[in-house]
Subunit: 154 residues, 2 copies
């Protein structure tokens, strides 16, 4: 029996998203053959997750811990750019983007990635809401709408 992490989803070939995993999710994550884990929560990853990454040669990128002290603060443009700079490099893949619930920080980064992919805004927001559920934050939707994709290539 395989147990994907909370709010797990496939974004693109070799790109996944989810909330923070427990050790019960590790056999599932192992099957993804990950090369990178982009960790967007301000909290440190659990020691179990660090060990899992070590054992499976997964590079863990903890972004945003210098910019935020609370899970309630919105993700900053700087952190979104750091994440996208990883996601535009083929060497990063296969990769998974994670935050505590896989809703807001992850959803904002994936939303900005969809802008890079030239998705129309209504489809981007539909996807954001699907993962945010009743916890939709309009602030994040505005962030995605106003995000300037040219910054990624500067």
């Amino acid at each position: 029996m395989l147990v994907p992490p909370n709010n797990f989803g496939m974004v693109e070939e070799d790109l996944y998203r989810s909330g923070s995993p427990d050790s019960i999710n590790f056999p599932f994550l192992e099957m993804l053959g990950l090369n990178s884990l982009v960790w967007l929560a301000p909290e440190e990853p659990s020691p179990e997750l660090l060990t899992f990454c070590n054992q499976n040669s997964i590079s863990l990128y903890h972004l945003g811990h210098l910019h935020s002290t609370s899970a309630w603060e919105p993700i900053t443009e700087e952190v979104v750019l750091q994440a996208l700079n990883l996601l535009v490099q083929p060497a990063t893949y296969p990769a998974i983007v994670m935050c505590n619930q896989g809703r807001h920080r992850t959803g904002t980064v994936i939303g900005c990635l969809r802008k890079l992919q030239m998705w129309c805004l209504s489809s981007i927001l539909e996807e954001y809401r699907r993962f945010a559920g009743p916890k939709v934050r309009v602030m994040n939707e505005q962030f995605i709408e106003l995000f300037d994709i040219d910054l990624v290539f500067e």
Copy 2:
């Protein structure tokens, strides 16, 4: 600007799901390089969709139109088995599974596919609900739970 169809999502490598597309979605669908379209709605696909499939050499499998006269009737076991028999064949891919809204019939087939992939039921239902939104039908969740995967290999 690319406009994915309503309720579009990636299920696995080369496997997608969505609601019924309009012609505004065709440039996006073209990029998926589809080989097959599994159409689960009882209604006939639109003439535009048939033309699009023809022009792009996509095989359209209209399942279930003999078994159901109303979009409100649940999908039958026979139709789910027909869909899964397509989805276990590598020659079917890249493929997309569609119904009117991409919620119930599509969600039931994908839920049964997740059973074949040995996902635990709670994760399968989380994914079903993510796409069904406030329109969750417990009947479909029960169908997924009770579906006997051994039937696929008989």
